[in-house]
Each structure stands twice: as C-alpha cells, then as structure tokens.
Symmetry: C2
Subunit: 237 residues, 2 copies
C-alpha cells in the first residue's frame, strides 16, 4: 500500500508529478457472540501492519490495486490473500481521497465492505497478524481507518432498515429470531418478536423450509431461507 518509509525532499517534489497511489481496502463485518452477554454482536478482522508507516498498528486489510483486476476482483483477491476470506457479500463502500491520509505519499483508497456468514468467518484464522475485533469501541487504527469503520457502521445501520444485508451475516438457513437478533445487534435496540415476524412474512425472498432447528432448550423454531441475490439493492455496477 504505502511504500515510502519516510518523506524526503525528493518525495515532495515527486508528489506533484506522479499520480496518487490507488489502494483497495475492505471493511468486513461478521456476527460473533459477545463475550459478556452471549448475544451476537458485530466484529471485524484487522491485520497488523508490518511496514512503516504505522508499523505494528492494526489496519483494514487492503493493498495496491492490482492492474489485471476490476475493483471488485481486486478487493476479493486481496481479501483472500490477507485473511483467507471469500465473502458472499462484497460491495463498494466509498472512495477516500483526502490529502493527508498517509504520510509522505498521497493515497486514494477505494474501500469495499463485506458481510460474511459464521461458517465463512471461521476461514479467517486468527494469527499474530490477523485478529478479530468488536466493531464498536475500537482502538486507534492506522491511517484514517477508524473514520472508515465509523462510516461503514453508519451505512450499515441505514441500509439495514430496507435492505437484505442481515441475511448475508447469517448462514444458509436461519430462524426468524436469529434475523431479529441481527437487527437488534446492528440497530442497538430491542425489537418486538411478534411484530418483527409479521413484517418478515410479507417481505419477498424469505422462504420457509420444512425444517426446524433442533437441540434448543425449548420449542424448536422453523428454519427459513433467503432466496434473493446480492444485487437486490444496488443494481448496475
């Protein structure tokens, strides 16, 4: 991503001549049970920087735009290389291009965001340099990445209301209570179970299966399936 270890006079004059560096980064959201309450909460994987600037700090996974890939492909490829993830939902979030996002060199980052299902999330093995964090109350990250995560959270809360994002955080089959828990986790408020059920039953792309989730402590809930696609909300690009 950002290569120059420090700024020099040469760098500064070059800055006017050479085009800005183009980076692709991704904010990845997944649901994990909170350590405290056990309820699902939003988490995201971060990678530790192994170079200057911000060496040793945590940052969004990303890298330079590979020439042979479209923006989406570049995001997907980088995600696989750095975290091992292959998310079922991956969409462009925003292009950040402030002048001082990175010391020394001007960097324009095209940021994607992803939702991964619990089974997918397990693919992102934690290691010395890859770790999952709770999305709220994040420590200070490299570059302007706190800012980017905050923006992603704001968009997530907005899109939740009328979008299909929730289903991409769940597995293939899910109970209505699980969907409700996603809403509660993201919107950070309780939702009436009965009314929520009534709403979902008249939205498209939610299909009841004949299966029930067994092994719970009480009456087994029916399992549902989401039959929509990722492109349900954003069409052309």
């Amino acid at each position: 991503m950002e290569r120059q270890p420090f700024a020099s006079a040469a760098n500064v004059s070059e800055r006017l001549a050479q085009p800005p560096a183009l980076a692709i980064s991704t904010v990845i959201f997944a649901l994990r049970p909170s350590a405290a309450s056990g309820r699902p909460t939003l988490w995201l994987p971060l990678v530790r920087r192994i170079r200057e600037p911000f060496r040793g700090m945590w940052a969004l996974p990303g890298g330079p735009l590979t020439q042979a890939d479209s923006l989406l492909d570049a995001a997907a490829r980088n995600l696989r290389d750095t975290t091992g993830l292959a998310p079922s939902y991956l969409e462009q979030l925003y292009a950040f291009g402030g002048l001082h996002r990175s010391p020394s060199q001007r960097v324009v980052s095209i940021v994607y965001w992803a939702m991964v299902q619990p089974t997918e999330a397990e693919m992102a093995q934690e290691s010395e340099n890859v770790k999952w964090f709770r999305a709220d109350g994040l420590e200070t990250l490299a570059f302007d990445h706190n800012h980017i995560v905050d923006y992603a959270l704001w968009r997530l809360r907005n899109k939740m209301a009328y979008g299909s994002i929730a289903y991409h955080l769940l597995g293939e089959k899910f109970t209505l209570a699980q969907v409700r828990e996603v809403y509660e986790a993201v919107l950070d408020r309780t939702v009436d179970p009965a009314n929520f059920r009534r709403q979902l039953k008249q939205t498209p792309h939610i299909e009841a299966t004949e299966e029930y989730l067994q092994g719970g402590k009480h009456r087994p809930p029916r399992l549902y399936r989401y039959t929509g696609t990722m492109a349900e909300d954003s069409p052309v690009p």
Copy 2:
C-alpha cells in the same frame, strides 16, 4: 483524462508497471421545463470530447485528479473549469474501475454527482462544446458514461424518497407545488397535491415564509425555505 491516442506494444507492457490513471467526473442534474409539456424534467450538461478516444462524442465533464485537491475539491474545481458551475450539492456517487472502460489505458473514475438550482444552471452557458441534454433517452456517450448516468438516475430515484435532494434542485424559496413537481419528474408518476402537502408539513427543515409567489395566473402560493444542509443524509465523509 485518457491521453493515449492509440494502443501500442509499449503501452501494453507499461500498463502492468504504471498505476491506473485516476479521473474525476461528475453527473450534474438540473431541472428544466420540457419542450413538450412545459413540466420540469431532468437535464444534465455534457461536454464534447476534443481528443481521442471518442473524439467529438459527448461525455461527462471530468479530468485527471489534481494532486493538490481532495476528491471533492477536484470535482468542484473541474466542474467550474469545464462548465462554469458551482453546485450547492456535490457528493460522491461511485468509483468505476472496470478494465476496459477506456481503450489503451486503464482508467479508474471516481464519479461525483451534483444538483444545481435553476439560477446556478444558467451559469453553464451552452457553447459548441458544452450542451444540456434530457437525462432520459440520451444518445450514445463516450466511454461507459451512459452506464454511469443510468446508475445516477437509479440512485436519484431511490434517494428521493427519504432524502433532501429535491430542495437542491430548486431555488432558495419555492412553493410546495414546485417540490411536488420535482418528485413527479424524478419518480415519473403523479402525486396527490393535498396528501403531499400534509407529508411535507411534518418533515423537518421545511420552513414557511411570509411571502407568496406573485404573478401566477391563480391564487398565489406560499413560499417555503429549506433549512437543512447537504450533509443531512451522508455524514462522515
């Protein structure tokens, strides 16, 4: 923007080494009375390309990202330089980065969109190389710019429902009927005047003035003012 007049063997090998070119373009919407019905409809200014590729064809105003400007500043500056416009509403739309958007060189375009008020729109003088077009039924444009305009229209229709965009297409003071006409133009359907009025009266940032629009043919309507800001919908960036 795209400089190479034609592709060469040297170009192709260089493509892998040098970063993609970064361009900023803008889709500008304004309201103008339709020639046929007289009702307001969506128009946008386009500029004629004076270089290859696509020389002579119409395209969105844009240019390379200037090094000293943020993305927003670069969009605003370019808009002023090419069309003379200084829109009151200017926001990032999407980053387009397909591999073959431009012949010869890879170009990533960060596209902004703007809404200009009627008085502002007059600043964009038509000339040999700058002309206003109706947003729907556009002729074939340079690059993938038809695709970009279609996407902008889709976003506009979506955002209209719960956003503040309509007011940025109108002047400082406006009648409720004018707001309704904007909705009708963008959503392409009729809206009940009485019900629309009831809705608007309980939305924030719409303030009644003590003035009335005189000179009409019938009962003069009250003028209103929008007191919100551009950042009402999109917060952080």
